[in-house]
Amino acid sequence: MSRYIGRIITVFAVYMLLGVPAYGAGGAIDTGDTAWVLTSTALVLFMTAPGLALFYSGMVRKKNVLATLMQSFVLLCIMSIQWVLWGYSLAFGPDHWGFIGGLEWFGLNGVGLEPNPDYAATIPHQAFMIFQMMFAVITPALITGAIAERMKFSAFIVFSIIWATVVYDPIAHWVWGMGGWLRNLGALDFAGGTVVHISSGISALAAAIVLGKRKGYATELIAPHSLPLTVIGAGMLWFGWFGFNAGSALGAGALATTAFVVTNTAAAAAAIAWMIVEWAHRGKPTMLGVASGLVAGLVAITPASGYVTPLSAIIIGASVGIICYISVSLIKPLFGYDDSLDAFGVHGVGGTFGAIATGLFASVAVNAAGADGVFSGSYALLGKQIIAILASGIYSFVLTIIILKVLDAVMGIRVSPDEEVQGLDLTQHSESGYNL
């Protein structure tokens, strides 16, 4: 018996050697920078759960509210573990062919508490790791806007783990990993326009197409069950996005400040623009329009947030507000795909616009580590941005189609029509949202 216990202890002891933080002789940790990055990490977690979870779940019908919340929450949990085990290593570990990181950092092996100057010289390496984790969490969660109200929960989980591993982790490596080919190319993505929004938005479109329309889409009334939930979520997204963008400065100084300011400015401009264009088009300014517009603005400024001035942010925001309005109100009905909560319409379209806008408005006067865009006289950046958009967009689209088609053949990805009618809360989770 005690020998048995002894063995267990030995096994654990070895296991625990993995991921032991080394307090190395490395660079000096700055407490202010660390405070800001940890705060930002918490903020980005807050964006996903409850922020995005609420934003989306308010828009679905009452019978699917828990299932929609569940998707964001379960992704937070699963991606947190995936990232610690292999995700971070694939994305930021030692480069292989510019395409992907190796498994050398599996289980956070070697990812300790001393700074890793390749990524952030003044904060513990694990702080950088967990900040990045929250991006890996929210990205697949964004896709759930396109698959709402009809995807089988078991298939959703399998899809998400595969997608994170073969789509998100590589693209994150291309753009942000040491040795990543888009990073080497010089494409700019301050806080995840390409990595987060294009990858999720384009995948969302692919998923909406593969899954097909919801029963009754465009023939019956599918009204949001609680817009106040959506509005709370939108407020939380705005709040959390400061962590997303200004946290991406990885320190608390001038760069974080400028990112913070342009983030707020673009969100505001986009919300106003969406409101005005809907007012002009349909005769009324809507609360959901403001909420949607602000998210579009936050999306578009994301890649640009460390590189542009506040006045550029106004233009970027106002433009994306109009563009995304057009994309969800005119283009979507034209093509007929059921991007249920407009994950593609806002994140795919807004993210693409943001990446282009970075190529237009970036200025080394704002960030010496950045580059000059078209309006500062250089066309080179724009070309690189377009390469980054195309590469990540096409890659995401194709891989998502393949994964879903395979899963559909293997396990089925959509609930039965009866289950869809009854709602996912009851049929996938045996729960009801409300007993009022």
């Binding site: 088009h281 349909r282 329009g289 949607s292 969800v328």
Partner: protein, 112 residues
């Protein structure tokens, strides 16, 4: 006994209740319902898309009363619920065979 069932506009409820109280009507039951009729529904917006909501919120008020009082009750409801605009609603009168007060077991007009 008669059951008087009135479908009215929600914001008239207070006035109708007062009108019935003036008749010494001591009991009534109201239900939130949705009505479809000549009154058109309204248009709502959802991300730039327009859709029509056909069913409008209405209040159903049920009063069971003696045969003698029935006309007065109907008149009081008509007078107090009317705005003159489409959608003011309807009153339906049906026969009630028996009424029982649960607390006491009283029956008939006594139970009202």
């Amino acid at each position: 006994m008669k059951k008087i069932e009135a479908i009215i506009k929600p914001f008239r409820l207070d006035d109708v209740k007062k009108a019935l109280n003036d008749l010494n009507i001591e009991g009534m039951t109201v239900t939130e319902v949705k009505g479809f009729g000549r009154q058109k529904g309204h248009t709502e917006l959802y991300r730039g898309a327009e859709y029509t909501v056909d069913f409008l919120p209405k209040i159903k008020m049920e009063v069971v009363t003696t045969d003698a009082m029935a006309t007065k009750v109907v008149d009081a409801i008509v007078a107090s619920a009317r705005t003159g605009k489409i959608g003011d609603g309807k009153i339906f009168v049906t026969a009630v065979e028996e009424t029982i007060r649960i607390r006491t077991g009283e029956k008939g007009d006594e139970a009202l």
